[in-house]
Structure formats: structure tokens, C-alpha cells
Symmetry: C2
Subunit: 311 residues, 2 copies
């Protein structure tokens, strides 16, 4: 197959096509031209994020192809969720490796488009190439009422820190391999097919709960250090952390790929134990101090989550 044949194969799988003739806001032009066209509604901010996934760094060719497509989109959707925004459309750049067969590409799109359908994200375009290792880059555009996006740098000293769900599952899943125990399978599922917390992010914004928010993609210690630094604050974490069944406290502190949300809220506010269907756990507090400095149960804690540049 040549490039145009690949593109036609992909185009045929996109469930909803944009209509250039529409007068309503939305996607005006999708796959097939030099660029896609999106017309925003008045009073809306658009938020944009992009995330790469590279063979042997973020996934292995042995992984189910649909899980790679699912996760490639999830990573960007999770950023959109963390801004309190609603995803609108995506661009997908895919470089296939020599080992990639059309069936793998089909499986990849199965997973990508299944998650896209779940969150009503239109695939509006992208790029297709070849490389020695398969490599994927996903850009997602989301929308949020003007000025209302949740951000990292807006927390205040004294705000309480919360996370959704349970942490460390993806880290456990990564090392569980093909374990067939119920715990191993649940953790592996978390590693392969995480769920972006879009409804939660929207609820945190709409209900005015969060003073700052971000998603947990690299691990609590690394991501919290970023939120704290962006807010010009230090932070302390405390036990008990909400640990994924079977995972260790270290998994919960430093494990990446959970895609839960971390947020801050004024300590005087009463935060429900469950928001948008997700369990919410109190994990610590932001405090005055050296920006980005962390403590866990009173001891200094160094960020030790996923870092692509770590040795």
C-alpha cells in the first residue's frame, strides 16, 4: 500500500465526517486537506496538548495493538481532562515500523477510535510516515468556557491536595507481565487501557472545586513537584495514600501512567468522597516553602517518577 492508500483506508474508518457547509461551530473540514478547520463557539477557550508514544520507550510491539491506540489518545485526553475542558478533536501522527502490518494499524485504530467515540473526539487529520521504530504523536484540542480552564500554577498555600482513584496500578501492571491473577490482570488493564478522567475534570471546573489541577502521567512525586513549583509552593504528602490493590506505596508515590487527577482545594472547603463517579482521597497539603520541594510524612521526598531522560 502507498501513502494515499493508507490514508483512504484510515479515512474510511472515521465514523463522523466534518461538514464544511455547516453554519454551526465545530469541525468544518477534517481529514484529506492540508489542514483541518475548527470553528469555535463564541466565549470559548480552546486548549491544545500533544503527547508522543514511541516503541520501546512507551510501548512494546508485543502489546495488543488496540491498547497502543487507546493509550496514545488517552494520554492527551487526560491533559484535556486536567484542564477541566471537553475534548473536541484530535490530530494523529503515526510512523509505522517495518514490522507493522495492516492488521496492526487496524487494531491501533480500533483502540484509538473506541476511546475517541467514548469521549466524542473527532479525528480531524494527521500525518503518516515510516520509521525504524513505531512512533505516535497525538494532538487533542478541547474547549472550555473562556477563562475557566483549570491550571497548575493557581494553588495557594494551605490548600489541601487530593487525587482521584487509586495510584500505582499502571506501575504494577507494567511489571506483572502476563500474570493471570485477578490483581495482575486488573493492574495490566490499568497499564494498557487507562481511562482519562474527563467527567471528573469537568466537574471540578464546573462546580468550582479545584484551585489547581493536573493529571498524573509521570507519577505523584514528579507531577506534584511540578504543580507545587508552578504555584510557587512546597507540598507535603501523608499516609494513607490510595494505593491500587496489590501495588506498593512506592508504586503509588512514583509510578507513572495512572492518568488520575491531582488537584488542590481550599482547606476550608468540604470535598465529597466521590466526584463524577471517582473516589477522591486527601493526600496532603500545599505549604509555603521552596517551590517544588516535597515532603512525605515529614521527610524530604525527591521526585522519582517517570523521566524519559533518567539514566
Amino acid at each position: 500500500m502507498n501513502e494515499d492508500a493508507w490514508i483512504r483506508r484510515i479515512e474510511a474508518r472515521i465514523p463522523v465526517r466534518a461538514r464544511a457547509s455547516s453554519r454551526k461551530p465545530g469541525l468544518m473540514l477534517g481529514i484529506g486537506d492540508d489542514a483541518a478547520i475548527y470553528r469555535p463557539a463564541p466565549g470559548e477557550d480552546l486548549v491544545f496538548t500533544t503527547d508522543m508514544m514511541i516503541e520501546e520507550r512507551h510501548f512494546l510491539r508485543e502489546y495488543p495493538a488496540d491498547s497502543v491506540g487507546w493509550k496514545a489518545l488517552c494520554r492527551s485526553l487526560s491533559d484535556i481532562a486536567a484542564m477541566g475542558a471537553s475534548p473536541r478533536f484530535a490530530l494523529l501522527s503515526l510512523a509505522v515500523a517495518p514490522w507493522v502490518k495492516p492488521a496492526w494499524v487496524d487494531g491501533f485504530y480500533d483502540g484509538f477510535l473506541a476511546l475517541a467515540a467514548k469521549y466524542k473526539v473527532l479525528l480531524a487529520g494527521g500525518d503518516l510516515s515510516r520509521a525504524a521504530r513505531a512512533s505516535i504523536d497525538v494532538m487533542v484540542c478541547g474547549a472550555v468556557p473562556a477563562g475557566e480552564a483549570l491550571r497548575r500554577g493557581t494553588a495557594r498555600a494551605g490548600d489541601t491536595l487530593y487525587v482521584s482513584g487509586a495510584l500505582g496500578g499502571a506501575s504494577l501492571g507494567l511489571r506483572s507481565g502476563r500474570s493471570r491473577s485477578a490483581t495482575g490482570r486488573a493492574a495490566r488493564e490499568r497499564h494498557l487501557r487507562p481511562e482519562p478522567r474527563v467527567a471528573l475534570g469537568n466537574a471540578l471546573r464546573r462546580r468550582g472545586i479545584a484551585s489547581a489541577a493536573m493529571d498524573l502521567s509521570d507519577g505523584l512525586s514528579s507531577d506534584l513537584a511540578r504543580l507545587a513549583r508552578a504555584s510557587g509552593l512546597a507540598a507535603r504528602l501523608q499516609r494513607p495514600l490510595p494505593v491500587f490493590p496489590g501495588a506498593s506505596e512506592s508504586d503509588a508515590l512514583h509510578g507513572g501512567d495512572d492518568y488520575e487527577l491531582l488537584f488542590a482545594a481550599p482547606s476550608a472547603d468540604r470535598i465529597p468522597g466521590r466526584i463524577a463517579g471517582q473516589r477522591i482521597a486527601r493526600v496532603g497539603q500545599l505549604i509555603a516553602g521552596e517551590p517544588g520541594r516535597l515532603f512525605f510524612e515529614g521527610e524530604a521526598l525527591l521526585p522519582a517518577g517517570w523521566d524519559p531522560f533518567a539514566k
Copy 2:
């Protein structure tokens, strides 16, 4: 350096920072959060494009680092130009290979930011990773008055075809290697540091000249076949083609990476020989026939431009 140190190094180089407090349309939030925020002006369409560049496919590590950054952005800017839009901001995903040193990254950003400054494109965010081969994906968002974007599929039978500039230079430059002749150096410059035709694309839109347009990234034969197919038409090309000095007619027909614009206009219209500073050459006509079918001087012509999936 770890990931955060890399990001801070990059952030420090971005000349213009977005201001979240502004009430005016534009970039509200740039690098450093989960996503960038862009607030469009009313009555504007936003256009989005993304293009990958992968080591050993699109560039070699021996190339000047600044030329890789320049070209990575140029490829997407050229798509924005082809839509008749004005570029606004970019997201840059960069995966560095083991051989990449900080000086290379600095050089890469020198080239990227030099072209960005020339066309007033803000770098609003991105992703940073590592891979066996260096790999780059650039997303550019551009703006155009609502409903006015130039597209591929809107040409009519009988429309005349035009291209800007001279074709085949990048192809000649690719095979000239380190030739030090004036011709070789000019062609190599065209290959390494092409110029996106943003002013031309805007002029074609604003002056209502083009019935359809696209950029020449893969080569005239391949790209024209796409424009013709999108418009449901066949096309014929004729001599003389505007051939880059020293290049062959075959370079001009099939060579990629020129980033000139191809456009159609009603045959009754008088098209200036120069638009927005670029020479405009008449190269053929769109005709009724099998969509995407091409003829050159009366003979059938097969698309033979750059195809990442070609054997």
C-alpha cells in the same frame, strides 16, 4: 539533564510568553501546563496541521541542527499557507536520540525559533521524549476568516493550474551533497531551509484568486493527483514547467520538499506573473475525467513523488 531541566532550558528560549490575564484573543497560556490555551477571535476559523520528521527518513544527523528545526516548522507552516491562513501558534513534540547533545537541541531551536519569529508563530507547548532515532512532530494552528480557507477539493473542470517559484530544487539539493558550485549551494539551501509561502497563500485567498490550492510537499505529480482527485477531476500538465536552475524536468515533476504552492483559477481570469513577490507559472489545466488521473504533454503520467511507503 532530566525532563524538567530540558523543558526549563527550552522555556527560557521562547521569546514571547502568553498572558493568561489578557482579555484580548490570542494565546492565553503557553508552555508549562497540561495544555496550551488559545482564544480565537469571533468570525475566525482555526486551521490545524501536523507533520512528522524522522531521522534517516526525512533528515540525517549530519544535517545542520538549525536546518532540521527550521524545516520541521516549515513543513507545517506550508500547509497553513496552502489554506490561505495566518499561522498563530505551534506545538512541538521532540524525541531526542542517544547521539543528540544539548548543543544540537539548541541549534534545532535556533532554526525553529528563527522561522517562528519570521512568521510570528508562538511556540505554545509540546512534548519531550527519547527514542532510538530523533523524531519530531510539529502541530501548527492558523487562523482564517470564517469560511474562507483555501481547499483542495473546490476546483472546477477547465480551471487553469499554476505553481509558485521553481520546482525540483530540493530534489537537486538532496543529491548534490556538499557540492560547492553556486547551483549546488542554492539547491542545497532549498532542500535544508525551504520557505513557506504564507504571504502568497494569504494573497490568493484575500484577492479571491484561487479556486483550490495546496502546497507541494511530496512533488507536483503526487500532489496534483491529490488536488485533482479531491476536486473529482483529471488534470493535464504541459511544458515548460518552471524548473529550478540545474534541476531536471523529472525533479520538477516528481521531486518533493519544494513547499511551493499549487493552485487552480478559472481560465477566464487573468493571473499576474508575480503574486506576493513570488513568480507564478501556468503549468496545466483541470479537466473532466477519472478523478486524480494525470497527463503530461498528452501522455499518461503516474504520480511518482515522495511516498513514505514506496519500496
